[in-house]
């Protein structure tokens, strides 16, 4: 009985894993340009209003699922996206810890798990590894342990290849690449934790004050 209940719970978890989870997901992504049609270089804004609380969706690593049954690999179906237009947004345990007030901690430059390189995210990484089936997590219950490592390695190799051009451009743009990468990473993670939504604390007005070096600013 307990075993059946666990199996049912696991199935439900897998089934709803792809569902959008937060009320922030209310802005649809920009519609792709129609094929074969010339595009206007600029477009009029839909509305001329301020956006202090306008939710924005981080674009990286977002998966589109247009059919409620297409999301089998990341959840059996995704009615929230299909019927309500809510967009899937990747979250990880490091973001969860950040929302709950855990600071980033020291920056770590690890060669294999490149992007998750502050202490908070590095500590959260094993949780994501176990829970994300794409990293070889839950489904490896039924598969050899090394299958998960193979899938994860392929995934990171692919990601590294995809951002190769960006890394070269970043190195060229930076005066000190290590510091530039660290700062961009930390800023990006803060944005992820805010789910891309600007708050009253961001952006920081103090950054835009001219400091004369004597403690006074204008």
């Amino acid at each position: 009985m307990t075993r059946d209940a666990c199996a049912l719970a696991l199935l439900l978890c897998l089934g709803f894993a792809g569902c959008a989870t937060t009320p922030h997901d209310t802005v649809p992504s920009p519609a792709p340009p129609p094929e074969g049609q010339p595009l206007a270089p600029t477009a009029e804004p839909d509305q001329r209003q301020s956006y202090p609380k306008q939710p924005m969706i981080p674009s990286a690593q977002t998966t589109e699922v247009d059919d409620p049954w297409q999301g089998f690999n990341r959840g059996i179906f995704d009615p929230a996206h299909h019927y309500l237009g809510l967009k899937r947004r990747p979250e990880d345990f490091g973001q969860t810890l950040g929302v709950w007030g855990v600071g980033p901690g020291p920056y770590l430059s690890l060669p294999i798990i490149l992007p998750r390189t502050c202490l908070r995210d590095a500590l959260a990484y094993p949780v994501d590894w176990v829970l994300n089936e794409g990293d070889g997590g839950v489904w490896t219950i039924w598969a050899p342990w090394y299958a998960g490592i193979a899938v994860g390695s392929a995934k990171y190799t692919n990601r590294r290849a995809l951002i190769d051009a960006d890394l070269i451009a970043g190195r060229a743009a930076a005066v000190d690449w290590y510091i530039a990468a660290r700062d961009a990473y930390l800023q990006g993670r803060e944005r992820d934790i805010r789910n891309g939504v600007d708050t009253e604390e961001t952006p920081n007005d103090e950054l835009y004050q001219i400091d004369d070096g004597n403690g006074a600013s204008r």
Binding site: Q54, I57, A174, D205
Partner: protein, 219 residues
């Protein structure tokens, strides 16, 4: 009785007038904010249109195009202020001459580095200015979304922070996907000045510009 009714009517009219006045006071800052955001938007829209006109003009030679784009950037970016913001409190450690050197190299660095991103432009990009916000210090932040063409599949979001300089709105920071250029450069400058000194910072920037210019020069 009539006197009482008249007094009541007068009080009601006075209350109504007071309420209107208060509503007007409350609405005034909002209207002013809208005006500033609209002015900044108009400037940015004009900059985008001018830039796209240059990029879409296929008759221009690459070096002419680059020079036109540079002049647009000089007109619409407040490079001296950006350099000061990047230096932050380290500005006091630089002599006037060093500050000027840094400004020159910084401007050249941005011009070379970010001018190169225009090479990716395909003409199929859709650029939309989505909104604007008046910041606490009267700056305006505008949000631009770019999709299609060379943009990533989900598009890219770039915020521009602008400041009114004697009636002219100038860009003082570029924030792609939430990563502030000023903040990023300030971190680098802070670390370099602390570890290696001001002279080394300017020399590194200079060397970087020379090597990049050589790499970009037509062979």
């Amino acid at each position: 009785m009539s006197s009482t009714r008249s007094t009541t009517a007068t009080a009601l009219r006075a209350s109504f007038a007071l309420a209107l006045a208060l509503a007007g006071l409350a609405a005034a800052p909002s209207a002013r904010a809208d005006g500033e955001v609209a002015a900044a938007r108009a400037t940015m829209q004009q900059t985008v249109d001018t830039t796209l006109a240059v990029l879409n003009d296929k008759s221009l030679a690459p070096d002419v195009r680059r020079s036109k784009l540079e002049s647009i950037a000089v007109d619409h970016f407040d490079f001296p202020l950006m350099a000061q913001l990047v230096l932050g409190k380290n500005r006091a450690a630089l002599s006037t001459e060093q500050q000027q050197q840094f400004l020159d190299e910084f401007k050249k660095h941005l011009s070379i580095t970010y001018g190169r991103t225009f090479n990716k432009y395909t003409g199929a990009e859709k650029i939309v200015l989505d909104g604007g916000r008046l910041e606490g210090n009267k700056d305006v932040t505008l949000r631009m979304n770019i999709s299609g063409g060379s943009a990533p599949p989900d598009g890219v979001r770039i915020d521009y922070r602008m400041r009114d300089d004697a009636g002219k709105w100038l860009v003082i920071d570029v924030i792609p996907e939430g990563v502030s250029l000023i903040q990023n450069f300030r971190s680098q400058v802070q670390e370099m000045v602390t570890q290696k000194g001001v002279a080394n910072l300017i020399q590194t920037l200079h060397d970087k510009n020379v090597s990049q210019a050589q790499a970009q020069a037509p062979s």
